[in-house]
Symmetry: C2
Protein backbone atom coordinates (compact mmCIF):
# COMPACT_ATOMS: atom_id res chain seq x y z
CA UNK A 1 0.00 0.00 0.00
CA UNK A 2 1.29 3.42 -0.95
CA UNK A 3 0.91 6.35 1.43
CA UNK A 4 -2.34 8.12 0.63
CA UNK A 5 -0.56 11.33 -0.29
CA UNK A 6 1.57 9.72 -3.01
CA UNK A 7 -1.44 7.74 -4.24
CA UNK A 8 -3.46 10.96 -4.48
CA UNK A 9 -0.75 12.70 -6.49
CA UNK A 10 -0.46 9.73 -8.85
CA UNK A 11 -4.22 9.58 -9.34
CA UNK A 12 -4.35 13.31 -10.09
CA UNK A 13 -1.51 13.01 -12.59
CA UNK A 14 -3.07 9.94 -14.20
CA UNK A 15 -6.39 11.71 -14.73
CA UNK A 16 -4.85 14.89 -16.04
CA UNK A 17 -5.81 16.84 -12.93
CA UNK A 18 -2.16 17.67 -12.10
CA UNK A 19 -0.39 18.79 -15.28
CA UNK A 20 2.27 20.97 -13.66
CA UNK A 21 5.90 20.42 -12.73
CA UNK A 22 6.80 17.99 -9.95
CA UNK A 23 9.61 19.79 -8.07
CA UNK A 24 8.96 19.45 -4.30
CA UNK A 25 5.89 17.23 -4.91
CA UNK A 26 5.96 13.96 -2.91
CA UNK A 27 9.18 14.77 -1.02
CA UNK A 28 11.45 11.78 -0.61
CA UNK A 29 10.08 9.74 -3.49
CA UNK A 30 12.42 9.13 -6.39
CA UNK A 31 11.58 11.36 -9.33
CA UNK A 32 12.82 10.37 -12.74
CA UNK A 33 13.43 11.31 -16.35
CA UNK A 34 11.69 9.16 -18.95
CA UNK A 35 12.71 8.28 -22.48
CA UNK A 36 10.56 6.11 -24.74
CA UNK A 37 11.91 5.02 -28.09
CA UNK A 38 11.59 2.24 -30.66
CA UNK A 39 13.21 -1.13 -29.94
CA UNK A 40 15.79 -0.79 -32.73
CA UNK A 41 17.50 2.04 -30.76
CA UNK A 42 17.04 0.61 -27.27
CA UNK A 43 20.31 -1.29 -26.88
CA UNK A 44 22.40 1.67 -28.08
CA UNK A 45 20.53 4.01 -25.75
CA UNK A 46 21.04 1.68 -22.78
CA UNK A 47 24.75 1.48 -23.55
CA UNK A 48 24.88 5.30 -23.85
CA UNK A 49 23.44 5.49 -20.31
CA UNK A 50 25.96 2.91 -19.08
CA UNK A 51 28.86 4.86 -20.61
CA UNK A 52 27.57 8.13 -19.12
CA UNK A 53 26.25 7.12 -15.71
CA UNK A 54 26.57 10.51 -14.02
CA UNK A 55 24.09 12.33 -16.27
CA UNK A 56 22.10 9.16 -17.15
CA UNK A 57 21.76 6.91 -14.07
CA UNK A 58 19.55 4.09 -15.35
CA UNK A 59 16.85 3.03 -12.87
CA UNK A 60 14.82 0.72 -15.09
CA UNK A 61 14.23 -0.46 -18.63
CA UNK A 62 10.76 -1.57 -19.68
CA UNK A 63 10.13 -4.64 -21.80
CA UNK A 64 9.30 -4.15 -25.48
CA UNK A 65 5.75 -2.86 -25.88
CA UNK A 66 5.10 -3.02 -22.13
CA UNK A 67 3.97 0.27 -20.55
CA UNK A 68 4.25 -1.04 -16.99
CA UNK A 69 7.28 -0.71 -14.70
CA UNK A 70 6.63 -3.03 -11.76
CA UNK A 71 10.08 -2.47 -10.28
CA UNK A 72 9.37 1.26 -9.81
CA UNK A 73 5.72 1.14 -8.82
CA UNK A 74 2.97 -1.43 -8.39
CA UNK A 75 0.53 0.17 -10.77
CA UNK A 76 2.73 2.62 -12.69
CA UNK A 77 1.59 3.06 -16.28
CA UNK A 78 4.08 5.08 -18.30
CA UNK A 79 1.34 6.11 -20.74
CA UNK A 80 -0.48 8.25 -18.17
CA UNK A 81 1.59 8.69 -15.02
CA UNK A 82 3.83 11.57 -16.14
CA UNK A 83 2.09 14.94 -15.84
CA UNK A 84 3.19 16.19 -19.25
CA UNK A 85 4.96 14.55 -22.20
CA UNK A 86 6.72 15.72 -25.33
CA UNK A 87 6.35 13.56 -28.42
CA UNK A 88 8.78 14.06 -31.31
CA UNK A 89 7.40 12.81 -34.62
CA UNK A 90 8.83 12.50 -38.12
CA UNK A 91 11.92 14.53 -37.19
CA UNK A 92 9.94 17.79 -37.19
CA UNK A 93 6.65 17.70 -35.25
CA UNK A 94 6.54 18.20 -31.47
CA UNK A 95 3.36 17.39 -29.57
CA UNK A 96 2.84 18.26 -25.91
CA UNK A 97 0.24 16.13 -24.14
CA UNK A 98 -0.70 14.75 -20.73
CA UNK A 99 -1.41 11.19 -21.91
CA UNK A 100 0.36 9.17 -24.59
CA UNK A 101 -1.97 6.15 -24.73
CA UNK A 102 -3.07 6.81 -28.29
CA UNK A 103 0.55 7.15 -29.46
CA UNK A 104 1.76 3.94 -27.79
CA UNK A 105 3.50 1.49 -30.17
CA UNK A 106 4.14 -2.20 -29.67
CA UNK A 107 7.86 -1.68 -30.38
CA UNK A 108 8.30 1.01 -27.68
CA UNK A 109 10.88 0.55 -24.93
CA UNK A 110 10.81 2.79 -21.85
CA UNK A 111 13.90 3.96 -19.99
CA UNK A 112 13.77 5.59 -16.57
CA UNK A 113 16.72 7.73 -15.45
CA UNK A 114 17.40 9.25 -12.02
CA UNK A 115 16.90 12.95 -11.36
CA UNK A 116 18.40 15.49 -8.96
CA UNK A 117 14.93 16.50 -7.74
CA UNK A 118 15.21 13.34 -5.63
CA UNK A 119 17.98 14.71 -3.42
CA UNK A 120 16.49 18.16 -2.97
CA UNK A 121 14.20 16.93 -0.18
CA UNK A 122 17.28 15.61 1.62
CA UNK A 123 19.06 18.98 1.26
CA UNK A 124 16.04 20.91 2.55
CA UNK A 125 15.64 18.49 5.44
CA UNK A 126 19.21 19.18 6.51
CA UNK A 127 18.56 22.91 6.34
CA UNK A 128 20.39 23.70 3.12
CA UNK A 129 18.31 26.52 1.62
CA UNK A 130 17.22 26.04 -2.02
CA UNK A 131 15.39 29.15 -3.10
CA UNK A 132 13.58 27.50 -5.98
CA UNK A 133 12.26 24.70 -3.74
CA UNK A 134 8.63 24.67 -2.66
CA UNK A 135 7.01 26.42 -5.60
CA UNK A 136 7.18 23.40 -7.92
CA UNK A 137 9.79 24.99 -10.15
CA UNK A 138 13.19 23.54 -10.98
CA UNK A 139 16.60 25.16 -10.99
CA UNK A 140 18.39 26.26 -14.17
CA UNK A 141 20.18 23.87 -16.54
CA UNK A 142 23.12 24.61 -18.85
CA UNK A 143 24.86 23.04 -21.82
CA UNK A 144 28.57 22.60 -20.97
CA UNK A 145 31.66 22.23 -23.14
CA UNK A 146 32.19 18.71 -21.73
CA UNK A 147 31.40 15.97 -24.28
CA UNK A 148 29.66 12.75 -23.30
CA UNK A 149 30.92 9.38 -24.51
CA UNK A 150 29.06 8.61 -27.76
CA UNK A 151 27.34 5.26 -28.48
CA UNK A 152 25.85 4.62 -31.92
CA UNK A 153 23.76 7.66 -32.89
CA UNK A 154 23.67 9.00 -29.31
CA UNK A 155 26.15 11.78 -28.55
CA UNK A 156 26.35 15.38 -27.39
CA UNK A 157 27.37 17.74 -24.62
CA UNK A 158 26.94 17.18 -20.91
CA UNK A 159 24.07 19.21 -19.44
CA UNK A 160 24.28 20.35 -15.81
CA UNK A 161 21.80 21.67 -13.28
CA UNK A 162 22.93 24.61 -11.12
CA UNK A 163 22.06 25.52 -7.57
CA UNK A 164 23.39 28.63 -5.84
CA UNK A 165 24.64 27.67 -2.38
CA UNK A 166 26.15 29.89 0.32
CA UNK A 167 29.80 29.11 0.98
CA UNK A 168 29.22 27.82 4.49
CA UNK A 169 26.87 25.11 3.17
CA UNK A 170 29.05 23.82 0.33
CA UNK A 171 30.80 21.02 2.18
CA UNK A 172 27.52 19.71 3.62
CA UNK A 173 25.84 19.95 0.20
CA UNK A 174 28.62 17.87 -1.38
CA UNK A 175 28.35 15.32 1.41
CA UNK A 176 24.57 14.94 1.14
CA UNK A 177 24.36 14.76 -2.66
CA UNK A 178 27.22 12.24 -2.86
CA UNK A 179 24.89 9.80 -1.06
CA UNK A 180 22.61 9.69 -4.12
CA UNK A 181 24.52 8.26 -7.10
CA UNK A 182 21.19 7.37 -8.74
CA UNK A 183 20.25 11.06 -8.59
CA UNK A 184 23.53 12.15 -10.26
CA UNK A 185 25.54 12.00 -7.00
CA UNK A 186 27.94 14.76 -5.94
CA UNK A 187 28.55 17.94 -7.96
CA UNK A 188 30.74 17.76 -11.06
CA UNK A 189 31.93 21.35 -10.64
CA UNK A 190 31.86 24.10 -8.03
CA UNK A 191 32.43 27.80 -8.49
CA UNK A 192 33.76 28.69 -11.94
CA UNK A 193 31.09 28.23 -14.63
CA UNK A 194 33.51 29.33 -17.40
CA UNK A 195 35.69 26.29 -16.70
CA UNK A 196 32.90 24.03 -17.95
CA UNK A 197 31.97 26.28 -20.86
CA UNK A 198 29.25 28.41 -19.25
CA UNK A 199 30.09 32.07 -19.88
CA UNK A 200 26.93 33.56 -18.41
CA UNK A 201 24.60 32.07 -15.80
CA UNK A 202 21.68 33.77 -17.53
CA UNK A 203 22.27 31.68 -20.65
CA UNK A 204 20.48 28.66 -19.25
CA UNK A 205 18.49 26.23 -21.34
CA UNK A 206 15.24 27.85 -22.35
CA UNK A 207 12.17 26.30 -20.80
CA UNK A 208 13.98 24.28 -18.13
CA UNK A 209 13.95 25.90 -14.71
CA UNK A 210 14.92 29.33 -13.53
CA UNK A 211 18.30 30.89 -12.67
CA UNK A 212 17.98 31.60 -8.94
CA UNK A 213 21.68 32.35 -8.39
CA UNK A 214 22.53 35.40 -6.28
CA UNK A 215 25.84 37.27 -5.82
CA UNK A 216 26.48 35.93 -2.32
CA UNK A 217 26.19 32.32 -3.47
CA UNK A 218 28.58 29.88 -5.11
CA UNK A 219 27.15 28.18 -8.20
CA UNK A 220 27.30 24.39 -7.83
CA UNK A 221 26.79 22.13 -10.85
CA UNK A 222 25.45 18.58 -11.04
CA UNK A 223 25.20 16.28 -14.08
CA UNK A 224 21.64 16.49 -15.41
CA UNK A 225 19.28 14.05 -17.14
CA UNK A 226 18.57 16.62 -19.85
CA UNK A 227 21.89 15.36 -21.29
CA UNK A 228 19.92 12.37 -22.61
CA UNK A 229 17.52 14.68 -24.43
CA UNK A 230 20.38 16.31 -26.32
CA UNK A 231 21.67 12.85 -27.26
CA UNK A 232 18.16 11.94 -28.47
CA UNK A 233 17.93 15.14 -30.51
CA UNK A 234 21.25 14.25 -32.14
CA UNK A 235 20.12 10.66 -32.83
CA UNK A 236 16.87 12.09 -34.20
CA UNK A 237 14.68 8.95 -34.34
CA UNK A 238 11.45 9.00 -36.33
CA UNK A 239 9.54 8.91 -33.06
CA UNK A 240 10.47 9.29 -29.41
CA UNK A 241 8.78 10.53 -26.27
CA UNK A 242 10.20 12.27 -23.19
CA UNK A 243 8.69 14.02 -20.16
CA UNK A 244 8.20 17.76 -20.56
CA UNK A 245 10.94 19.65 -18.64
CA UNK A 246 10.40 19.49 -14.89
CA UNK A 247 7.34 17.22 -15.29
CA UNK A 248 8.92 14.06 -13.94
CA UNK A 249 7.73 10.54 -13.26
CA UNK A 250 7.22 10.10 -9.48
CA UNK A 251 8.04 6.52 -8.55
CA UNK A 252 7.07 4.38 -5.52
CA UNK A 253 10.72 4.25 -4.50
CA UNK A 254 11.88 6.26 -1.56
CA UNK A 255 15.08 8.09 -2.47
CA UNK A 256 15.08 9.75 0.89
CA UNK A 257 13.13 8.86 4.00
CA UNK A 258 11.04 11.82 5.07
CA UNK A 259 9.10 11.30 8.25
CA UNK A 260 6.53 13.87 7.18
CA UNK A 261 5.78 12.32 3.81
CA UNK B 1 6.23 0.67 8.09
CA UNK B 2 7.99 -2.31 6.62
CA UNK B 3 6.09 -5.53 6.01
CA UNK B 4 6.43 -7.73 9.10
CA UNK B 5 8.26 -10.45 7.21
CA UNK B 6 11.06 -8.16 6.03
CA UNK B 7 11.25 -6.54 9.47
CA UNK B 8 11.59 -9.98 11.06
CA UNK B 9 14.39 -10.97 8.72
CA UNK B 10 16.23 -7.72 9.39
CA UNK B 11 15.86 -8.10 13.14
CA UNK B 12 17.18 -11.67 12.98
CA UNK B 13 20.16 -10.59 10.88
CA UNK B 14 20.85 -7.63 13.18
CA UNK B 15 20.93 -9.81 16.26
CA UNK B 16 23.07 -12.51 14.69
CA UNK B 17 20.18 -14.99 14.62
CA UNK B 18 20.33 -15.30 10.80
CA UNK B 19 23.94 -15.70 9.71
CA UNK B 20 23.32 -17.62 6.48
CA UNK B 21 23.13 -16.59 2.83
CA UNK B 22 20.26 -14.46 1.61
CA UNK B 23 19.36 -16.01 -1.77
CA UNK B 24 15.53 -16.26 -2.02
CA UNK B 25 15.10 -14.52 1.36
CA UNK B 26 12.63 -11.58 1.22
CA UNK B 27 11.66 -12.09 -2.43
CA UNK B 28 11.27 -8.85 -4.33
CA UNK B 29 13.41 -6.70 -2.05
CA UNK B 30 16.61 -5.33 -3.53
CA UNK B 31 19.61 -7.27 -2.29
CA UNK B 32 23.00 -5.65 -2.53
CA UNK B 33 26.76 -6.00 -2.36
CA UNK B 34 28.53 -3.84 0.21
CA UNK B 35 32.00 -2.35 0.19
CA UNK B 36 33.33 -0.29 3.09
CA UNK B 37 36.69 1.44 2.72
CA UNK B 38 38.64 4.43 4.02
CA UNK B 39 37.73 7.89 2.72
CA UNK B 40 41.04 8.34 0.86
CA UNK B 41 39.99 5.61 -1.61
CA UNK B 42 36.30 6.46 -1.83
CA UNK B 43 36.33 8.81 -4.84
CA UNK B 44 38.43 6.41 -6.93
CA UNK B 45 36.16 3.52 -6.00
CA UNK B 46 33.04 5.49 -6.90
CA UNK B 47 34.56 6.38 -10.28
CA UNK B 48 35.49 2.71 -10.79
CA UNK B 49 31.81 1.83 -10.30
CA UNK B 50 30.76 4.60 -12.69
CA UNK B 51 33.18 3.37 -15.36
CA UNK B 52 32.00 -0.24 -14.91
CA UNK B 53 28.26 0.09 -14.34
CA UNK B 54 27.26 -3.40 -15.47
CA UNK B 55 29.19 -5.29 -12.77
CA UNK B 56 29.08 -2.39 -10.25
CA UNK B 57 25.67 -0.62 -10.37
CA UNK B 58 25.96 1.92 -7.58
CA UNK B 59 22.81 2.19 -5.45
CA UNK B 60 24.11 4.42 -2.66
CA UNK B 61 27.19 5.95 -1.08
CA UNK B 62 27.27 6.58 2.65
CA UNK B 63 28.65 9.76 4.18
CA UNK B 64 32.09 9.63 5.79
CA UNK B 65 31.92 7.84 9.14
CA UNK B 66 28.15 7.40 8.88
CA UNK B 67 26.92 3.79 9.17
CA UNK B 68 23.32 4.66 8.20
CA UNK B 69 21.85 4.54 4.70
CA UNK B 70 18.49 6.30 4.90
CA UNK B 71 17.93 6.14 1.15
CA UNK B 72 17.92 2.32 1.25
CA UNK B 73 16.15 1.70 4.54
CA UNK B 74 14.71 3.71 7.41
CA UNK B 75 16.73 2.04 10.12
CA UNK B 76 19.46 0.27 8.16
CA UNK B 77 22.74 0.13 10.07
CA UNK B 78 25.56 -1.16 7.91
CA UNK B 79 27.49 -2.31 11.00
CA UNK B 80 24.97 -5.03 11.85
CA UNK B 81 22.46 -5.54 9.03
CA UNK B 82 24.49 -7.83 6.78
CA UNK B 83 24.39 -11.47 7.95
CA UNK B 84 28.12 -12.04 7.56
CA UNK B 85 31.07 -9.78 6.79
CA UNK B 86 34.67 -10.22 5.71
CA UNK B 87 37.20 -7.77 7.08
CA UNK B 88 40.59 -7.48 5.38
CA UNK B 89 43.27 -6.07 7.66
CA UNK B 90 46.90 -5.04 7.16
CA UNK B 91 47.00 -6.65 3.70
CA UNK B 92 47.11 -10.15 5.19
CA UNK B 93 44.52 -10.86 7.92
CA UNK B 94 40.94 -11.86 7.04
CA UNK B 95 38.28 -11.85 9.75
CA UNK B 96 34.79 -13.26 9.25
CA UNK B 97 32.17 -11.84 11.58
CA UNK B 98 28.45 -11.10 11.87
CA UNK B 99 28.85 -7.57 13.29
CA UNK B 100 31.48 -4.95 12.48
CA UNK B 101 30.60 -2.36 15.14
CA UNK B 102 33.90 -2.72 16.95
CA UNK B 103 35.87 -2.30 13.72
CA UNK B 104 34.00 0.81 12.56
CA UNK B 105 36.26 3.79 11.78
CA UNK B 106 35.33 7.44 11.51
CA UNK B 107 36.90 7.62 8.04
CA UNK B 108 34.84 4.72 6.63
CA UNK B 109 32.68 5.22 3.54
CA UNK B 110 30.06 2.61 2.58
CA UNK B 111 29.15 1.75 -1.01
CA UNK B 112 26.10 -0.32 -1.91
CA UNK B 113 26.03 -2.08 -5.30
CA UNK B 114 23.13 -3.90 -6.97
CA UNK B 115 23.01 -7.70 -7.12
CA UNK B 116 21.44 -10.24 -9.46
CA UNK B 117 19.67 -11.96 -6.55
CA UNK B 118 17.18 -9.10 -6.93
CA UNK B 119 15.90 -10.27 -10.32
CA UNK B 120 15.69 -13.96 -9.42
CA UNK B 121 12.30 -13.47 -7.73
CA UNK B 122 11.04 -11.92 -10.97
CA UNK B 123 12.34 -14.88 -13.02
CA UNK B 124 10.75 -17.42 -10.67
CA UNK B 125 7.48 -15.53 -10.67
CA UNK B 126 7.36 -15.75 -14.47
CA UNK B 127 7.98 -19.49 -14.26
CA UNK B 128 11.60 -19.52 -15.36
CA UNK B 129 13.06 -22.42 -13.34
CA UNK B 130 16.24 -21.66 -11.34
CA UNK B 131 17.38 -24.86 -9.73
CA UNK B 132 19.48 -23.17 -7.07
CA UNK B 133 16.58 -20.94 -5.99
CA UNK B 134 14.74 -21.65 -2.76
CA UNK B 135 17.48 -23.23 -0.69
CA UNK B 136 19.28 -19.95 0.08
CA UNK B 137 22.26 -20.79 -2.10
CA UNK B 138 23.56 -18.74 -4.98
CA UNK B 139 24.59 -19.74 -8.47
CA UNK B 140 28.22 -20.12 -9.56
CA UNK B 141 30.51 -17.16 -10.41
CA UNK B 142 33.50 -17.11 -12.77
CA UNK B 143 36.47 -14.91 -13.52
CA UNK B 144 36.40 -13.99 -17.23
CA UNK B 145 39.09 -12.83 -19.65
CA UNK B 146 37.28 -9.48 -20.05
CA UNK B 147 39.09 -6.61 -18.32
CA UNK B 148 37.26 -3.87 -16.46
CA UNK B 149 38.13 -0.21 -16.97
CA UNK B 150 40.72 0.67 -14.29
CA UNK B 151 40.48 3.76 -12.05
CA UNK B 152 43.35 4.60 -9.69
CA UNK B 153 44.33 1.42 -7.85
CA UNK B 154 41.09 -0.38 -8.79
CA UNK B 155 41.37 -2.79 -11.71
CA UNK B 156 40.89 -6.43 -12.65
CA UNK B 157 38.84 -8.95 -14.60
CA UNK B 158 35.09 -8.95 -15.00
CA UNK B 159 33.38 -11.60 -12.86
CA UNK B 160 30.13 -13.15 -14.08
CA UNK B 161 27.36 -15.20 -12.48
CA UNK B 162 26.02 -18.19 -14.47
CA UNK B 163 22.54 -19.67 -14.61
CA UNK B 164 21.70 -22.73 -16.70
CA UNK B 165 18.49 -22.02 -18.62
CA UNK B 166 16.57 -24.30 -20.99
CA UNK B 167 16.61 -23.03 -24.57
CA UNK B 168 12.88 -22.32 -24.68
CA UNK B 169 13.21 -19.86 -21.77
CA UNK B 170 16.20 -17.89 -23.02
CA UNK B 171 14.35 -15.10 -24.79
CA UNK B 172 12.03 -14.54 -21.83
CA UNK B 173 15.00 -14.60 -19.42
CA UNK B 174 16.78 -11.90 -21.44
CA UNK B 175 13.61 -9.81 -21.52
CA UNK B 176 13.00 -10.02 -17.79
CA UNK B 177 16.56 -9.39 -16.64
CA UNK B 178 16.96 -6.44 -19.02
CA UNK B 179 14.33 -4.65 -16.90
CA UNK B 180 16.74 -4.53 -13.96
CA UNK B 181 19.80 -2.44 -14.91
CA UNK B 182 20.51 -1.89 -11.19
CA UNK B 183 20.76 -5.67 -10.78
CA UNK B 184 23.27 -5.98 -13.67
CA UNK B 185 20.55 -5.94 -16.38
CA UNK B 186 20.51 -8.39 -19.28
CA UNK B 187 23.12 -11.14 -19.79
CA UNK B 188 26.55 -10.20 -21.13
CA UNK B 189 26.99 -13.58 -22.83
CA UNK B 190 24.92 -16.64 -23.72
CA UNK B 191 26.09 -20.11 -24.64
CA UNK B 192 29.85 -20.30 -25.19
CA UNK B 193 31.78 -19.92 -21.92
CA UNK B 194 35.15 -20.26 -23.70
CA UNK B 195 34.44 -17.02 -25.60
CA UNK B 196 34.68 -15.10 -22.33
CA UNK B 197 37.64 -17.06 -21.01
CA UNK B 198 35.85 -19.80 -19.05
CA UNK B 199 37.25 -23.16 -20.17
CA UNK B 200 35.38 -25.33 -17.68
CA UNK B 201 32.11 -24.57 -15.87
CA UNK B 202 33.41 -26.49 -12.87
CA UNK B 203 36.20 -23.94 -12.41
CA UNK B 204 33.97 -21.46 -10.64
CA UNK B 205 35.15 -19.12 -7.93
CA UNK B 206 35.65 -21.10 -4.76
CA UNK B 207 33.24 -20.29 -1.97
CA UNK B 208 30.74 -18.38 -4.11
CA UNK B 209 27.70 -20.42 -5.10
CA UNK B 210 27.36 -23.78 -6.77
CA UNK B 211 27.52 -24.86 -10.43
CA UNK B 212 23.99 -26.10 -11.11
CA UNK B 213 24.38 -26.28 -14.89
CA UNK B 214 23.04 -29.43 -16.61
CA UNK B 215 23.63 -30.76 -20.14
CA UNK B 216 20.18 -29.81 -21.43
CA UNK B 217 20.62 -26.18 -20.41
CA UNK B 218 22.34 -23.20 -22.02
CA UNK B 219 24.72 -21.35 -19.67
CA UNK B 220 23.78 -17.67 -19.43
CA UNK B 221 26.19 -15.14 -17.92
CA UNK B 222 25.50 -11.87 -16.15
CA UNK B 223 27.98 -9.26 -14.88
CA UNK B 224 28.52 -9.86 -11.15
CA UNK B 225 29.25 -7.64 -8.15
CA UNK B 226 32.15 -9.90 -7.14
CA UNK B 227 34.04 -7.93 -9.82
CA UNK B 228 34.37 -5.17 -7.23
CA UNK B 229 35.99 -7.58 -4.77
CA UNK B 230 38.71 -8.45 -7.28
CA UNK B 231 39.31 -4.75 -7.84
CA UNK B 232 39.56 -4.27 -4.07
CA UNK B 233 42.00 -7.15 -3.74
CA UNK B 234 44.14 -5.53 -6.43
CA UNK B 235 43.96 -2.12 -4.74
CA UNK B 236 44.81 -3.86 -1.45
CA UNK B 237 43.94 -1.13 1.08
CA UNK B 238 45.17 -1.45 4.67
CA UNK B 239 41.60 -2.10 5.72
CA UNK B 240 38.35 -2.78 3.90
CA UNK B 241 35.15 -4.70 4.61
CA UNK B 242 32.79 -6.56 2.28
CA UNK B 243 29.84 -8.93 2.77
CA UNK B 244 30.74 -12.63 2.86
CA UNK B 245 29.81 -14.27 -0.47
CA UNK B 246 26.04 -14.68 -0.85
CA UNK B 247 25.40 -12.91 2.48
CA UNK B 248 23.92 -9.74 1.02
CA UNK B 249 22.41 -6.58 2.46
CA UNK B 250 18.60 -6.73 2.10
CA UNK B 251 17.28 -3.21 1.55
CA UNK B 252 13.81 -1.69 2.02
CA UNK B 253 13.60 -1.10 -1.72
CA UNK B 254 11.35 -3.27 -3.80
CA UNK B 255 13.24 -4.40 -6.90
CA UNK B 256 10.27 -6.47 -7.92
CA UNK B 257 6.70 -6.34 -6.67
CA UNK B 258 5.74 -9.72 -5.31
CA UNK B 259 2.17 -9.98 -4.12
CA UNK B 260 3.08 -12.80 -1.78
CA UNK B 261 5.90 -10.97 -0.01
Amino acid sequence: MLPTRLQNIRTQIRHGEWTGTTGSLAPGYEQANIVILPENLADDFEEYCHRNPRPCPLLARGSVGDPFLPCLGDDLDIRSDVPRYRIFLHKKITIETTDISKYWQKDFVTFVLGCSLSFEAALMNENIPLRHYGNHTTCAAYVTSIPTEPVGPFKGALVVSMRGIKEKYIEKTVEITERYPLSHGGPIHIGAPEEIGISNLNDHIDGIGINYWEQDEIPMFWACGVTSQIALKNANPDIYIIHAPGHMLITDRQAYKNENS
